[in-house]
Symmetry: C3
């Protein structure tokens, strides 16, 4: 169990406003109950208008104004928005996309993580900031960069990336022959004679070797970690304040566990309405129902995920307060949602929820993005809800999360593996994990998410490990010795670490006597019905072996098998099947479940049960009436 003070914050851009407004802004923030102000993360062109010409006076004054008013400052490094002169000095630093097109200045994040000159510039500006503010009394936390990878910028096909990838391959494989063997380059005469011949896997006429793809994805992810680490090392040299990064929703292009290992807290930016219509927008009926509330499980999932990434320490760095500007459509939240989202975060262990942003900027890209103030400085609707949360926090200031009884293992590399080789075009790792997460949450369960490096499963009763491409040895061992119900599959442990099929065949887990003899991917119009109801969609594996058959297809093939505590699932279950599978596992493990009305969700902390109504209609639960966007809690 972890516990920390709960607090509210806001993102603020002093450089956007006349300095005469700062003091009044700061006072209104404090008056509204806010504790934290995040600043600075896009201000490079104002901190260093020309290479080497530093202008930090305004930032000194801004921090003083905010701090003197009673706010703690989170200071962001400005490396996500390099100024135009960076390209004068490093014209080849720009990202090159999969089509071979060099990208341009004019928005943000257009520079390649692998470019040494850009990295040096970043080290320089971060050093200036850390030296100047590392011991500043009002600077109480740091943010590195901003939303690594936003706008699909993890992957670059630039010359800088190609050379760095060649080095990465040389370090990993030592010889071209070893690389050829590891990747199976004998196939189609793809062999390399030396590392300098290796190119990035874009612009091929046919699909790339999945081993090549997978190596490039691992490399690209590590470049992000390396970039972040360079900043953290500088900051830590000068400051003891926690160092944080703000991740995004449903973003899998780098291994957040790896980046998170270098940081003190994992924060994320939560935009429930924007995400619903973009990254989760495959179901029109769901989008219509939750248009102004957001998906009832998506925030919870990311809280659980990033709590794991933060090794227990979780923040929301940006919380949507009203309509945004970047989704295909941008409706307004239901009244009450700005409060509900905050409490959902706190119930999942968030220490701080920081709204984005203080005042809506009337200019540039995000002028249609709501803030807590309107552009004319009047209160926007969310501000009253912020005040309410602030008041409620005075009665319940501690955030505490207990270890859950149910866990899902989440693995970024598996997402890359199945992108490199989906086999069925709709086989999406996140979709599968999230479908299972939803099924668990429909039963009122509180869930932990575990990294693939997990070495012990103590305390859990039900653990799910879907589609984890390559089981690490410690996790395999933990599963083999697990006393609860572990559900693996489909596709779990199907691959070697070099993205080949296993021989002997998968899942290749000691104690689980089953073999995936054949694999089928299935179009949406050809499900495989199960004998007990529901069906497999998208994916079905033909199992052989002597494990006990727990579920069968209607045609009689094994659909789920079990040896001891290890269960293997041979396909992608639909919701009907998932509900049964979850119910059976919970019953086997004597875990209580709930039958929740559609749109109602529950989360238990160490001390309280929280209930959230995401439905657009009122709901009753355990004797409490919740209006739309209603939240209630009671002590456990």
């Amino acid at each position: 169990m972890t516990a920390a003070r709960r607090a509210l914050g806001v993102c603020y851009y002093p450089e956007h406003w006349d300095e005469a407004l700062w003091l009044d802004d700061a006072r209104r923030m404090v008056e509204a109950g806010l504790t934290w102000a995040r600043i600075g993360e896009f201000a490079w062109s104002r901190l260093e208008p020309e290479a080497g010409r530093l202008e930090f006076d305004w930032l000194d004054r801004a921090i003083d104004t905010l701090g003197s008013a009673g706010l703690k400052v989170i200071l962001g490094t400005p490396t996500a928005a390099p100024p135009r002169w960076i390209l004068d000095r490093h014209p080849d630093a720009v990202i090159v996309d999969a089509d071979g097109r060099a990208r341009k200045h004019g928005s943000r994040r257009h520079v390649c993580f692998s470019h040494a000159g850009y990295l040096a510039e970043c080290r320089r500006i971060v050093s200036f900031l850390a030296e100047r503010y590392g011991r500043h009394p009002h600077v109480a936390a740091w943010q590195t960069d901003n939303e690594f990878g936003c706008h699909d910028t993890v992957i670059s096909y630039s010359d800088a990336a190609r050379r760095a990838f060649q080095d990465w391959c040389a370090r990993r494989y030592q010889s071209a022959e070893a690389l050829n063997r590891a990747w199976g380059n004998v196939f189609w005469s793809m062999d390399y004679g030396d590392f300098g011949q290796i190119d990035l896997p874009n612009l091929l006429v046919a699909q790339a070797n999945p081993a090549h793809m997978m190596a490039f994805r691992r490399f690209s992810s590590e470049q992000v970690a390396r970039f972040n680490r360079a900043q953290v090392e500088i900051i830590r040299r000068h400051s003891d304040a926690p160092v944080i990064h703000n991740y995004m929703g449903r973003f899998l292009d780098f291994d957040h566990f790896q980046v998170g290992a270098d940081l003190d807290v994992a924060a994320w930016d939560s935009y429930p309405l924007g995400f619903l219509l973009t990254r989760l927008g495959d179901d029109e009926a769901r989008c219509a129902r939750y248009l102004r509330q957001g998906d009832p499980d998506a925030q919870a999932f990311h809280h659980d995920l990033y709590r794991a990434v933060g090794r227990g320490r979780l923040w929301v760095m940006e919380q949507q307060p009203g309509p945004v500007n970047w989704a295909p459509w941008n409706p307004a939240p239901l009244p009450g949602m700005a409060r509900l989202w905050a409490w959902e975060a706190f119930a999942h262990g968030a220490e701080t929820v920081s709204y984005f942003r203080w005042r809506q900027a009337p200019f540039a890209q995000e002028q249609m993005h709501a803030g807590l103030l309107r552009p004319d400085s009047a209160d926007a609707p969310a501000l009253a809800e912020v005040r309410q949360v602030a008041a409620e926090l005075t009665d319940m200031p501690e955030a505490g999360t207990a270890q859950a009884r149910v866990a899902i293992v989440f693995d970024y590399a598996s997402a890359w593996a199945w992108e490199a080789e989906p086999q069925g075009q709709d086989f999406d790792y996140f979709d599968l994990v999230f479908a299972i997460y939803r099924a668990l949450r429909r039963k009122g369960l509180s869930i932990d998410i575990l990294p693939p490096e997990t070495a012990t499963l103590d305390g859990y009763r039900v653990v799910l490990v879907p589609a984890l491409a390559t089981l690490p040895e410690p996790l395999s061992a933990a599963l083999a010795g697990f006393g609860g119900t572990a559900i693996l599959g489909p596709r779990t442990n199907a691959k070697t670490s070099e993205m080949s099929l296993r021989v002997p065949l998968a899942p290749a887990l000691p104690g689980l006597d089953t073999v995936v003899a054949r694999v089928e991917s299935l179009p949406p119009f050809a499900d495989v019905p199960l004998a007990d109801g529901g069906a497999f969609r998208r994916w079905f594996e033909h199992l052989e072996g002597r494990a006990e058959v727990v579920e069968r297809t209607r045609e009689g093939r094994p659909a789920m098998v079990r040896s001891g505590g290890l269960t293997y699932l041979a396909g992608w279950p639909d919701d009907v099947a998932l509900d049964r599978i979850v119910a059976r596992a919970c019953a086997d493990e004597k875990l209580a479940t709930l039958d929740l009305p559609e749109g109602l969700r529950v989360r238990d902390t160490a001390t309280h049960r929280f209930v959230f109504n995401y439905a657009p209609e009122p709901q009753d639960f355990e004797g409490v009436a919740l209006p739309p966007a209603g939240v209630s809690w009671r002590p456990l």
Copy 2:
């Protein structure tokens, strides 16, 4: 009221045919009742086969042949189809598209408006033509270029365009600091240190700054005007004949009012069937019903628009006579449509309707495009209808249009603004204006379209100003003093001239006590129902203020408010709501409306009421039976 002789014409390409055919062709044109022949606009490679080697003899003979037969010649400048040797002299003159790809010779319009060398070549060939034919007795009109912007060629991302845009910015903003301030470049550290750092807004990793986009769209539009003006100035030096350009349908990439200000007549190229399945093709049922007639309002809309662009003088330079080659499918018009379309044009004030083309060419890109003759020189079906119109014109040779009582303000810059920042992905300026236009026309109203620079609304009773991003001061003043019903919104006056939000908030019109406090864009599955029926789709604004509420949403929010003569509409009404809004405005202003059968349309001139049956079934109206494609008229 304007009045001019009505006439028919045809487009002819003497260079496509053996000279032996010319005389017979000319005689058959005259025999069919044609008055005008447009020639020359793609003949550059035959007028100047190599740089500086001029071959004008054949054109002399062609003009003589046509003129001697009794035809008046419209002579086109050939700059829309530069010959191949232009690229030998100016290899960098080609358009570069948004993906950074240099385009190639092999069709037409592949050259960048901003390229100085190309412009010089154009000046040269236009000078030769103007000098030779400026006082020619048979050359009675000029056409500059052909369909500016066809094939999406207004916008180019070439080096020539980039340099010209930097100059444009320097002239407009004088200093980089002023530009940074105007665009809000402090956001995301987008500041420029000098104008040479400014790039064109393509190939960014995230969206561009809408101010940057808007400046680039204005610049791109002005380059067209500048290109046209260069030709007009040369022609006018040598000729007193009217100078015309032939615009296209639903084409908004440049400001036609600005180009039109330099010309004597606005012409357009009317392809009702092709447009139905391309630029208006979002409604399958409508496409099925009007497949062989074209949209019943699209021609009318463009006649009204281009009559405004031509400051009263309107031509149809190319009229579809049969199946074309360029739509996704190319059906044949119903018998009678070649006549109906001509009369619809005349009823809207067209002086000349010129069919495209005389004889179907059996070769090259448009070999499947019908003409008045088949490739084997037999009459195509439309020729008999042309003869009928010619005969009818002898009884009604005068074209006169009266000022309408109803007007819509149309603004090209608003189309660019909402493309730069749609906020909802289906927010399309043309769609909104056209939906309103259709609603007016369903009520039998005759409509004027007004430019945004309009400074007086005298004579109008109902004026609609939807989504006009930035109200010019003279129009604001005219609206403030308007004695009829003016309906603004949604989004009207939402932006400053630099594409920022207004503070104080929009609509910021003196006398209209309402404020757009918040904006929502809505997906197709989430309309906002109105209390009196119908709904807002796509867009809904939350209004505050003390203006009288005329319409409410079913949930009780203001949907339309009024202070005096100024009405503000808070969303995008569906057809049910639009019909009510139009009916109420007309009732308030005591304007008579009609209840027209589906597909029947009416247009009143100064002297006559014209009735057109676009429906595929016969219709009765005011005691007259109209077959499909039927036209009738009676004196007013």
Copy 3:
């Protein structure tokens, strides 16, 4: 009638496996009844790891091992997978795609057919192979390259292709003036002054001249033939074994008749399930029904087509044995299909059916592609079916095909013509031909496919020539003298050899008094109903002339006309109309037809009637009960 021994084979990659496995593999192949092993076609990087360093020893040993075990070897030239060092020597040899992007090493087929340096390298490696193995006792056949054009690689826009195309134009037209005249380049001033100005028809802003497109497609096709011929000439210098190429399904980018003229046998690679969901996947209900069987007519069509390409000699070089890896979804075949597909091939005259591949490779791109063995060397399900077919072949070893009574003329150039100028966006040549083929096969007919150069129709009673863009003179003459029923149209003979419309108008066939006066293409929601049932879809021609009207539209226009034995069809008939048209033609010619249950198919050889059940349910036919995937035969 042709006759040859029927046999089975398999594709094998000794370089993929430890040499210790080879002998056991060879013995198991022979034990399973396989006769042939194809090897070598992707082994270049192992045969020549660096330029000039040859390593053929392993191949010697592999051939010896296979041959000694009793197998005949088909040796493939490895030119489809050039090693990485080829690009070190010829960096500009890569394909440039239509977007102007140079493609990369990392898969296969990324090199341009027009590149002289690559061609020289290919000649070199083929010479080494032919010299070494040309008289080898175990090398009993040769395969040139592999699947010419796979991954859309026939067409390249590289500099090498451009220069070669300019030469091709110079040879064909002799002067730029002649080319301008032939293509109609006067249109839009597209004239060229010399051949060096001619560019490839990509990256234009508007559509290309169809004559330009057509010339480029002819050129691109000829480059493939030239490339193949270079290899054949070398092999024939050293070997008397038959030379074969393995074509693909529904692949039209080069003229297979032209390539086939240089070869001894036409082979193709048959992947019924993969094709169903990709190249034939427009009908979801059909895909659902035949998901695990493949389209019931697609294999038959290609057998008939390639039998023509092979001038009677047909092989299946790669036969799908289980799920593949490259379709959007990859289900498993129904039990029995690996046998059914083989018998369908034999019934159409195939001499050899060779399965792809022996053992599933656990690495690289195709690791999810099934083989006859699993990756762990256990039998995959298809192996038992292979054994069954091998046993059945001992009773019926001879393959013989009789000339059919019904024929369709198939013309690759027509596919290019209608791609260059579809006129309606869904006018697809293959779709039309295949729709007619299906209608014939629904009636139980056995069909021959004829090349456009066919000069005699002796022996046929019904011949269909749909949409053949330009009728060659010998075929015109054969049709004029044909005693049976010939059905032409729509679009047949619409074009000159230079892709212009004909004047006098098409179809311009002596003896057929009809003229296509006008053409309409139609969207899916606007069919033209026929008086006797069914409708024209997509395409409808207005006919004039005195030919007898056999069918009319419901509105009374001619839909099918006849003069003597020549029938002209004025549109694209739906299945209802096609069934009637086929039935009438067969009745007229006294050809027996069958009424087959949905999914049952029949094929007659010279000696036997074969019946195949593609349906997922059992069927009875002529007293025989066939389970799903069932095959039966009886002597005729």
